[in-house]
C-alpha cells in the first residue's frame, strides 16, 4: 500500500503542476484572444466590448463582410452602421453572432441581411473555429458551435484543451503579447476591403468546379424563421439583399431559382423588401470581382453605393447626402 500511496502522491504532484500550468495558460490565451484586433476573432472582440450600438447592422457571410461597406452607409445616411459578416459561414452561426451582439449592444433599427445561395445550408465543419475560442463559455456561442463538427464536449469544459494543436495561433498570441504593435485591425466596422483581382487561377478553379445543388437544412430554416419573427416582434426592419455573384458563379448553382424563390417566399411572408442583384450589370464584369462569388474592393465600393441608393429610394435609409455615382 505504501508504494501505491507514494506513487499516487508523486503523480498527483506532477498532475497538480500540469493543471496549474494549464489553467494559467488557458486564461492567458483567452485574455490574448480577447485582445485580437484582426480576423473574425477581432470582430467578436469588438462585439463583446460593446458600444457599437449600430443603427444599421449588416449580417451575412464573407460576401456581407466584403461587399457592403458600413462607412459609406454611415456617411450617406447619417446612421451608425456595423458589419457582422462572417467568413466562410452560413446563416445558422451568423444568427448566433447576431444574438451575441444583442447581449452586448443596443438592438439595431435596420438589419441588412445578405443572402447567398448557401445561406440556409449549414456546413458540417466549424470553419475558422479559432474565432470562437475565447467565447466558448458563452451559452449562445456554445449552443451554436455544438451543431458543428468542431469542438469536442471536453473543449467546453476542461482547461486548455481547446488550444491543443493550435500552435500557430498560440505563437501569434505570444507574439502579440510581446509586440502589441503587430496586433493591427484588418477591418473597419467589420468590413474587409480586398484589393485583389480576378486571375487565371480563378478561371482554373471554376473550370474544375462542378455544378452543384444547395439543400437548406432544418436547423438553418428554423433559426431563420425564428430570427425573422423575433426581428418583427422587436420592430427591427429587416432587408434581404442578394449581392452580385458573377454569372459564371451563378451558373454553378443548379437550383438557384428555387433558392431565390424560397427567400422570396419569406420576404412576402414577413413583408421584407428583397433586393436581388443577380441580374445587375456588375455580374458580367470580372473587373469587379476577385472570384466568382466575391467582389473586390472596387466592386464592393460600387455595389455599396448602388445599395444605398436603392435603400434610399425605398425609404429604408434617409436621403441626407447625395451619393456620387
Amino acid at each position: 500500500m505504501i508504494p501505491l500511496k507514494n506513487s499516487l502522491i508523486k503523480v498527483s504532484l506532477f498532475a497538480g503542476i500540469v493543471l496549474l500550468f494549464s489553467v494559467s495558460l488557458h486564461y492567458f490565451l483567452d485574455a490574448q484572444m480577447k485582445q485580437l484586433r484582426y480576423d473574425d476573432a477581432g470582430v467578436w472582440n469588438q462585439i463583446s466590448q460593446g458600444g457599437i450600438d449600430a443603427d444599421v447592422l449588416i449580417m451575412g457571410s464573407s460576401r456581407a463582410a466584403t461587399h457592403i461597406d458600413p462607412a459609406h452607409i454611415s456617411e450617406t445616411a447619417n446612421k451608425s452602421c456595423f458589419n457582422l459578416g462572417m467568413m466562410g459561414h452560413n446563416f445558422y452561426i451568423e444568427n448566433a453572432r447576431y444574438y451575441y451582439y444583442l447581449q452586448h449592444n443596443r438592438a439595431p433599427q435596420i438589419i441588412i441581411l445578405s443572402l447567398d445561395y448557401e445561406s440556409l445550408q449549414r456546413r458540417s465543419d466549424l470553419f475558422n473555429h479559432t474565432q470562437f475560442l475565447a467565447y466558448l463559455n458563452d451559452p449562445a456561442v456554445a449552443q451554436a458551435t455544438r451543431a458543428y463538427n468542431g469542438f469536442s464536449k471536453y473543449d467546453y469544459a476542461l482547461p486548455l484543451l481547446k488550444y491543443v494543436g493550435e500552435r500557430t495561433l498560440i505563437f501569434s498570441l505570444f507574439n502579440n503579447y510581446f509586440f502589441p504593435a503587430r496586433n493591427k485591425p484588418d477591418r473597419v466596422n467589420g468590413f474587409l476591403a480586398r484589393d485583389l483581382k480576378w486571375n487565371a487561377d480563378v478561371d482554373k478553379v471554376l473550370d474544375t468546379l462542378k455544378a452543384y445543388s444547395v439543400s437548406p437544412d432544418s436547423l438553418s430554416l428554423a433559426a431563420f424563421e425564428s430570427f425573422l419573427k423575433d426581428a418583427k416582434a422587436k420592430n427591427i426592419k429587416v432587408v434581404f439583399v442578394h449581392s452580385p455573384t458573377h454569372l459564371l458563379g451563378q451558373q454553378k448553382v443548379v437550383n438557384r431559382k428555387e433558392i431565390m424563390a424560397l427567400y422570396q417566399k419569406y420576404a412576402w411572408q414577413f413583408s421584407i423588401p428583397f433586393f436581388d442583384y443577380a441580374t445587375d450589370s456588375m455580374c458580367s464584369q470580372k473587373s469587379y470581382f476577385l472570384n466568382a462569388t466575391h467582389l473586390n474592393k472596387y466592386g464592393a465600393a460600387l455595389f455599396t453605393r448602388k445599395l444605398i441608393v436603392d435603400l434610399q429610394r425605398e425609404g429604408i435609409l434617409p436621403w441626407l447626402v447625395t451619393t456620387k455615382e
Binding site: 508504494p3 506513487s7 506532477f14 500540469v18 471536453y154 476542461l158 494543436g165 500552435r167 498560440i170
Partner: protein, 497 residues
C-alpha cells in the same frame, strides 16, 4: 443510444481514454488489489466496456470467438485420440478463419471473382455485402488461434476458468491493435495475483507518454503532409513522391509503435508485461533484421504457427524459399484484403532472398547496431539506409489503392532519379510545402531512439539514468509538445487491420 454514439470509439489518444484509464486503475488497485478473481473480473468488464464503446453489437462476436476457443481448447486437451484432437483443432481453426474471412475478406473475394469472370468474357451481376469490419478482429482471432495451437501442441494446459481466458483474449490494452499475445506468456500472468509495483507503474506512465509522442506528434504531423501527396500523387514531382513515401514510413512507424507503447505502458500499470512489438526497426541493417524488429508479435506468430510447421529453415533451399513467400504473402493478406497488401508482402519476401539464397552472416544481424559506439560505421549506415529505402518502396505499394497507382507512383520516382533531378525536387517541395517542422520532429525521433537503441523503448530506464528534476523537465517538454502538435480526431492506422 444514437448513431453517433455507435460510431464513437475510445482511442488511446483521446480524452475519453484519459478518463477511462485512471478510473479502471483506481478500482483495480483500491478495490480489487487483494483478490485475483476480482482483479480479472474488473479488467474483463473494463475491456468489454472499452470494446463496446465502439459498437456494442460486436461484443457478441468477441464473446463468440472467446467461447469457441475456450471450449475448443478444453476439448483438444481432453480428447483421447489424435484424430479427435485434430477434429477439434480443425473445427476451431475453420470457424476462426471463417469469421475473419467473412468480415474481412468476403467482399475482396467476391469482387476479385467478378473481375476474373469479366476478364474471360462473362458479365457477372454480384452485389458487394455491406459488411462492417469489426475493430481488432484480426488481432483477437490470432490470440485465439495461438491458444488452440499451443494447447494442441501441449505447450500449455487449457484454462478451465472462462474469466481468465476471456481476459487473455480481450484485455483492453491489446484488444484492438495488439501486440498479438501468446497464452504461454500472458495467461500465467493473468492467473497470478498482481501486486502494485511503483517502478513498473512509473515505467508504464513513461511508455504511455513516449507512445503519445510518437503517435500524436510524429505520426500525425507526418500524416498531415504525406496524405495530400498520396491522395493527389498524379500532380506531384518524383521528388515529392519519394518524400511523401518517407514521411509515410515515419507516420506508420509512429502510429503503430506509438500505439504499442501506449498498450504496453497501460498494461504495465495493472502489473502486466506484454510482448515487445517494436525494437527500433529503422536501425535494421537487412530486411531479415527489420522483420525481427517490426511488429514482432505478428512476425513471431507467423514464424511459430506457419513457417516452422512448414519446415522453417531446416529444409532445402527451395522449400525454405517457398516457406518465406507463404509467410510474407499471408502477412500481406492479413494487413488487408487487397492485391496491394499481398504484393507488399511479396516484395518483402523478394527482399529477403539474399539472406535465404546466400545464408551469409552479413544478413543475419542479431546484435544491436553499433553497440558500444556512438555512431555507426559507413557500412552500417549504408546497410541501414538501403534497408530503409527498400521498406519505403514496398510501403508505397502498401499505401496506394491499386496496383496501377503503385506502378505510376514508383515510375514517377524512377523517372526523377533517372533524370537526376530527384534531390532538387525534394528540396523545392520541402521548401514550398512543408517547412522545417516535420524534419525537426523526425530528427528528434531518430536521435532520441538512436541514443536509446539498447533499451526496450526510448525512455526506458530513464529513472536510473536521469535525475528527477531533469526527468520531470523532459515530461513537461513532451506534454508541451503534445499541446502544440496534437490534432483533432486522428485514427490509428492499424485499427483497419
Amino acid at each position: 443510444m444514437n448513431k453517433d454514439a455507435l460510431l464513437f470509439f475510445m482511442l488511446f489518444n483521446s480524452i475519453d481514454f484519459a478518463f477511462f484509464l485512471p478510473v479502471v486503475f483506481g478500482l483495480y488497485w483500491f478495490i480489487a488489489r487483494h483478490n485475483i478473481r476480482l482483479q480479472n473480473v474488473l479488467l474483463l468488464l473494463a475491456s468489454y466496456y472499452f470494446y463496446g464503446s465502439w459498437d456494442i453489437r460486436f461484443l457478441a462476436l468477441l464473446a463468440f470467438s472467446t467461447l469457441l476457443d475456450f471450449f475448443s481448447g478444453i476439448q483438444i486437451h481432453d480428447a483421447q485420440t489424435l484424430i479427435r484432437k485434430k477434429v477439434w483443432l480443425t473445427f476451431s481453426v475453420f470457424l476462426n478463419v471463417g469469421l475473419l474471412a467473412f468480415f474481412k475478406y468476403a467482399n475482396f473475394f467476391v469482387a476479385s471473382f467478378a473481375e476474373l469472370l469479366m476478364n474471360i468474357g462473362f458479365k457477372p451481376n454480384f452485389t458487394l455485402l455491406q459488411i462492417v469490419l469489426p475493430i481488432g478482429i484480426s488481432f483477437y482471432t490470432f490470440h485465439g488461434l495461438s491458444y488452440v495451437f499451443d494447447v494442441y501442441r501441449d505447450k500449455i494446459k487449457p484454462t478451465k476458468n472462462l474469466i481468465d481466458y476471456s481476459l487473455f483474449v480481450s484485455f483492453f490494452p491489446l484488444l484492438v491493435a495488439g501486440p498479438i499475445e501468446r497464452a504461454t506468456h500472458l495467461l500465467p500472468q493473468i492467473q497470478t495475483i498482481r501486486v502494485f509495483d511503483a517502478v513498473k507503474f512509473a515505467d508504464g506512465l513513461r511508455q504511455i507518454l513516449w507512445g503519445l509522442f510518437k503517435k500524436v506528434i510524429i505520426a500525425d504531423t507526418c500524416a498531415q503532409y504525406s496524405a495530400p501527396i498520396f491522395n493527389q500523387f498524379e500532380h506531384q514531382s518524383g521528388g515529392a513522391l519519394l518524400l511523401g513515401a518517407i514521411l509515410f514510413m515515419f507516420e506508420v512507424y509512429g502510429d503503430f509503435s506509438g500505439y504499442s507503447d501506449i498498450a504496453l505502458g497501460s498494461a504495465r500499470l495493472f502489473g502486466f508485461e506484454l510482448l515487445q512489438n517494436f525494437s527500433f526497426p529503422y536501425f535494421s541493417r537487412s530486411i531479415a533484421e527489420f522483420w525481427s524488429r517490426w511488429h514482432i508479435s505478428l512476425s513471431s506468430w507467423f514464424r511459430d504457427y506457419v513457417y516452422i510447421p512448414m519446415g522453417g529453415s531446416r529444409v532445402g533451399r527451395m522449400k525454405k524459399l517457398r516457406n518465406v513467400f507463404v509467410v510474407f504473402l499471408l502477412s500481406g493478406f492479413w494487413h488487408g484484403a487487397s492485391f496491394n497488401r499481398i504484393l507488399w508482402g511479396g516484395l518483402h519476401a523478394v527482399f529477403m532472398l539474399p539472406s535465404i539464397l546466400w545464408a551469409s552472416s552479413q544478413y543475419k544481424h542479431t546484435d544491436i547496431v553499433a553497440k558500444g559506439r556512438s555512431l555507426p560505421t559507413w557500412t552500417e549506415l549504408l546497410q541501414m539506409l538501403s534497408t530503409f529505402l527498400l521498406c519505403t518502396l514496398a510501403l508505397i505499394v502498401f499505401r496506394t489503392t491499386s496496383l496501377g497507382d503503385s506502378f505510376r507512383y514508383l515510375k514517377a520516382i524512377g523517372i526523377s532519379i533517372f533524370d537526376a533531378r530527384i534531390f532538387s525536387e525534394i528540396f523545392v517541395f520541402w521548401k514550398q510545402s512543408m517547412g522545417l517542422t516535420p524534419l525537426l520532429l523526425i530528427v528528434i525521433l531518430i536521435v532520441v531512439e538512436w541514443l536509446n537503441r539498447t533499451k526496450k523503448y526510448a525512455l526506458d530506464e530513464l529513472a536510473i539514468r536521469v535525475p528527477q528534476p531533469l526527468r520531470w523537465l523532459i515530461y513537461f517538454l513532451l506534454l508541451g509538445m503534445l499541446l502544440l502538435f496534437a490534432q483533432r480526431s486522428r485514427q490509428f492506422i492499424y485499427f483497419q487491420f
